[in-house]
């Protein structure tokens, strides 16, 4: 009996222990719940939002590139695509086969889509083909009921209406490479393209625009459930070039008649570039829609370097186009006057060395003007010996050679104007007098780009202003106009007048080296200077055997150059032409320059104000700088 009561007491005690434990554990759970939901609530709220909210970037529209008249040079074409969403297709392969009957799809694309469909989440659309034309899209749209899972959409793809003509100038866009992925999250968007060369590269960040973003609620496998918020993307900056698209196209076509050539046409006063071309070229549209490996190999293997913009990065001996600089150096040094003459017997002897004039019989007595007209080398040999390399180099730099000119294209190269200090510093050797002689006719170490040669020409004919080239019209407003005009160079007008007379005779006098390429119509007359740049040294044997330059291999032939300006009175347009291995300036470069300068004068692009959208106040920016 007692035992029973004891047993009940034990039970009661233990029942309360159990009840107490239950209560305590409930308390622990309640405390934990409060800890999670109250104390840690904020933190977990953030984590929960992070879970469910995805930021979706909306690709911005790339800014257009237009020429000075507003003609589009780079636009965003609509790119129609056909996509398949695997989870909506009963049988992907069946849908693809049905599609193949309507549009052309390579067999490997079908294999690619099937492979991708087996790997990625079922709701992610897979691109089957892009670049569809309207008929294809219409045909697919009509038949959509029979094509489960398929849909069409439209994206944007960069397109260049002028094709090859603007390829070097504008460049092209391409997929972002690993090294290019930086801070801008838009770069990681699939299929996003950025500028790789030319203007596309130079103004890439501005033209890119600002990505929009949409906040979407996603579930655990990443499917979008609904859109919470949307900030539209902002279109990129529109870039207006000083270029005249049609003139650019004309220039490109004309250059393409040569195996390898480049040219620059610019405004002598403002420095605005009207055309800048390099041939051979390539089709930039082929790059935006995915270049085939074969075509890429072909472009790289071409000895004429179609991928190089030779107008800004080709460096050539300026040859006889440099003679104006030498002449000016002579005049400025006071060693010669306008009327100083020299006797050319076909060569010039310095010490035991003999330096040949291009005309083996010699030119007889020549003055400065005639030396330019007939391109007598001997006159400059003698002049250079008197003046010295440092003075020549100083004038050359003043005229824009041997340095980068802050041009907008990153491909711009500096060329080279050698002097004594340069040789000692770079080659560790003392300057030789013979090298001065060679430099006076733009040979030897001397190197210049077509762009620099055009600038040199501009500085001679604009009255001696240190004009620099530029190509984006917005910069006209920023720089050229706000600074009123370019710095005045210390050149006497009479010297300019004399040099211009010499150049005038080169083209428009019967004995001039470019007389054969003069403008028959006096309304479009122009002047200039030929140049023939040695690629290989002419050996004594060659000189004696009379072997002709055209008999040599293409790579060994001389470069042909021409720098010119027009009109004769109040020059506005300057032009430089380099025909690689074109044998002679008068036979290859001068006719080309003639065609360009006549066409330029006919079109007269500088006469019309630049059309800048949304900047009417800058409309007057024609770039005319008082002379």
């Amino acid at each position: 009996m007692k035992k029973t009561r004891e047993q009940v007491k034990v039970f009661t005690r233990r029942a309360f222990v159990i009840g107490g434990l239950q209560g305590a554990l409930l308390g622990v759970l309640g405390g934990r719940l409060a800890w999670l939901q109250v104390a840690q609530g904020g933190r977990y709220k953030t984590l929960s939002d992070k879970n469910r909210i995805n930021m979706k970037l909306l690709a911005p529209t790339r800014g257009q590139i237009v020429d000075r008249f507003g003609v589009p040079l780079a636009v965003n074409a609509q790119n129609f695509r056909v996509l398949v969403v695997p989870e909506q297709a009963d049988n992907i392969e069946q849908s693809l086969r049905a599609l193949k009957k309507m549009i052309e799809i390579p067999e490997e694309d079908i294999a690619r889509v099937l492979k991708q469909a087996s790997k990625t989440a079922k709701f992610v659309p897979i691109e089957i083909r892009d670049d569809l034309n309207w008929e294809d899209v219409a045909r697919i749209e009509v038949n959509l009921p029979d094509l489960p899972g398929l849909s069409t959409d439209v994206g944007e793809q960069r397109s260049y209406p002028f094709g090859e003509a603007t390829a070097h100038l504008i460049g092209y866009v391409g997929a972002v490479s690993e090294s290019e992925i930086g801070d801008d999250p838009v770069l990681s968007l699939p299929g996003f393209k950025i500028g790789k060369t030319g203007i596309e590269k130079r103004f890439d960040t501005e033209m890119r625009g600002k990505a929009g973003r949409a906040e979407v609620e996603v579930n655990v496998i990443g499917r979008e459930v609904r859109e919470l918020q949307k900030h539209e993307s902002r279109k990129g900056r529109r870039v207006t070039l000083t270029v005249d698209g049609e003139l650019q196209r004309f220039t490109q076509n004309r250059l393409s008649q040569e195996k390898s050539a480049s040219a620059v046409i610019m405004d002598a006063h403002s420095g605005a570039v009207y055309a800048l071309a390099s041939a051979p070229s390539f089709d930039p549209n082929a790059f935006t829609s995915g270049l085939s490996a074969a075509l890429w190999e072909e472009l790289l293997a071409n000895p004429a370097h179609p991928m190089t913009n030779k107008a800004v990065s080709g460096q050539y001996p300026p040859a006889s186009t440099f003679k104006m600089v030498s002449l000016l150096a002579g005049l400025q040094s006071g060693k010669i006057t306008k009327n100083t003459t020299a006797f050319c017997k076909g060569y010039y002897e310095y010490g035991s060395d003999r330096f040949h004039c291009w005309k083996s019989g010699g030119h007889g007595w020549v003055d400065g003007r005639k030396a330019l007209q007939v391109s007598c080398d001997t006159y400059f040999y003698e002049l250079a010996t008197e003046v010295g390399i440092d003075k020549i180099a100083e004038v050359a730099r003043m005229m824009g050679l041997g340095q980068r000119l802050d041009f907008e294209l990153a491909e711009e190269r500096p060329g080279l104007v050698p002097d004594k200090a340069w040789k000692l510093g770079q080659l560790g050797k003392k300057w030789q007098p013979g090298e001065t002689i060679v430099a006076s006719i733009g040979q030897g170490y001397m190197q210049a780009t077509p762009l620099q040669l055009a600038v040199m020409m501009a500085r001679f004919v604009n009255g001696g202003y240190a004009v620099k080239p530029w190509i984006t019209a917005e910069d006209l407003a920023k720089n050229a106009l706000s600074s009123e005009n370019w710095p005045k160079l210390p050149i006497k007008p009479e010297h300019i007048k004399m040099i211009k007379t010499g150049m005038d005779r080169v083209v428009n006098s019967e004995k001039g080296t470019a007389y054969g390429s003069r403008s028959v119509d006096p309304a479009y007359a122009f002047s200039g200077k030929t140049g023939t740049g040695q690629v290989q040294r002419i050996t004594m044997q060659q000189r004696h055997s009379g072997i002709k330059n055209e008999d040599l291999a293409w790579k060994s032939r001389h470069h042909a150059l021409f720098v010119g300006y027009a009109p004769l009175k109040n020059p506005r347009y300057v032009c430089s032409v380099v025909v690689e291995h074109g044998i002679g300036g008068s036979r290859a470069a001068a006719p080309l320059a003639r065609d360009l300068l006549i066409e330029t004068q006919k079109r007269d692009p500088g006469a019309t104000p630049i059309h800048i959208q949304g900047a009417e106040g800058l409309g007057k920016a024609t770039g005319k700088v008082p002379t």
């Binding site: 039970f11 029942a15 009840g19 759970l29 719940l33 409060a34």
Partner: protein, 375 residues
């Protein structure tokens, strides 16, 4: 003998129905309704596929519960051993079927539901122990040889469930058995010795554990170490609970569950869904209702005058509360992930059936609290 006179020994069915513990029935109904609501939300505001089926099961199981309650306790007392051996047989059948079939099998397909014998076994073990200790004296409980049979009663099903292998359920059967031994007055020293033995056997158990079980323990010890792997479930569950805050995200607005970040939201993680949407208020309300049910079980046990109903009622209460604690502690990241449903709330037939059978027996105890059980 001055044993108290039986007052309700001759109760008829109607009297028993009248005296049913309607308070407990209301509590069970309230908790179950929270379950239906949560399941309705888990299906994104739809009765199908879970809520409607769960309600039907509840209806059927509730009728079963009342029938069980109305049956006089002496019948349950007499049926205990047959039921125990039936349960063991079912466990063996499942085991054999598992061997014939493919891989681990824990349930028998009854057509309308899939029965997990191990769930029912927990109740039967409590019954068997209560039955065994019914006649035990104070001294019996202190004699170790007397406790050999109860040990077998517990360890036989534990071993069979371990073979399935279902570590979680096996542990729970063991814990419930140990709790009944404790209730019945087994020496405290038995527990201290047992604890020492368990501690000593941990390395051995670790050796025999499946790699996924080891992984779960490791992940429990440091869930953030593997946020995309095994720790993912717990991390997401904690995020869901925490982000619910005090007021909750609102009915049908639980983003973690609606967007499927929460795993098994209709079964093991249903408490998380409820507390995410209803916040601390909803979570605490559910905990309070569970607390009242525990209290009811304790109250019934304390008012019984016989050992069998005393041990049975309290043992069943412990069994029920163990489920609750293990499930909720798991979703809160307090213990490792074990596949344990939340009784009355989680979607699942066996769990609902087992819970209501337990309450039916508890009420039968209550109705027969004053009667004397004779063999």
């Amino acid at each position: 003998m001055s044993r108290s006179i039986t007052l309700h020994s001759d109760q008829n069915i109607f009297e028993r129905f009248k005296h049913l513990n309607w308070g407990l029935v209301v509590l069970i109904l309230a908790v179950s309704c929270i379950g239906f609501t949560a399941l309705y939300s888990a299906a994104e505001g739809s009765f199908s596929p879970w809520a409607s089926k769960q309600m039907m099961r509840f209806g059927v199981a509730a009728i079963g519960m009342i029938i069980i309650a109305l049956v006089d306790l002496k019948w349950w007392f007499r049926l205990t051993w047959p039921l125990y051996f039936l349960g063991l047989s079912l466990l063996i059948i499942v085991e054999v079927m598992g061997h014939i079939g493919m891989g681990a099998q824990r349930w028998i397909n009854l057509g309308f539901m899939q029965l997990q014998p191990s769930e029912l076994m927990k109740i039967v073990v409590v019954m068997a122990l209560a039955r065994y200790f019914h006649t035990a004296s104070y001294e019996d409980m202190r004699r170790l040889p007397f406790l050999v049979i109860p040990m077998f009663v517990i360890l036989a099903p534990v071993a069979l469930v371990l073979l399935q292998p279902d570590l979680g359920t096996a542990l729970m059967i063991g814990m419930v058995g140990a709790a009944v031994l404790f209730i019945a007055g087994a020496s405290i020293w038995l527990y201290i010795g047992g604890a020492v033995m368990v501690a000593a056997s941990v390395p051995v158990a670790w050796h025999f554990m499946h790699s996924y079980q080891k992984q779960r323990v490791m992940t429990f010890l440091n869930p953030e170490s593997d946020p995309l792997g095994a720790g993912y479930h717990i991390t997401q569950s904690k995020i869901a609970l925490g982000s619910g805050g005090i007021n909750g995200k609102g009915f049908l607005e639980g983003t973690q569950s609606r967007l499927n970040f929460l795993p098994e939201k209709q079964t093991d993680f249903i408490f998380t869904l409820w507390a995410e949407e209803q916040g601390l208020f909803g979570g605490a309300l559910l905990l309070a209702l569970f607390g009242l049910i525990f209290f009811y079980g304790l109250w019934i046990a304390l008012h019984c005058r016989q050992n069998f109903p005393r041990y049975l009622a309290l043992g069943l209460s412990v069994n029920f509360s163990l489920y609750v604690f293990i499930n909720i502690a798991m979703v809160m990241g307090l213990i490792p992930v074990v596949g344990a449903p939340l009784p009355l709330i989680s979607y699942g037939g066996t769990s609902m059936l087992a819970a209501l059978i337990g309450f039916g027996l508890m009420m039968s105890c209550s109705l027969s609290r004053d009667s004397k059980i004779s063999r």
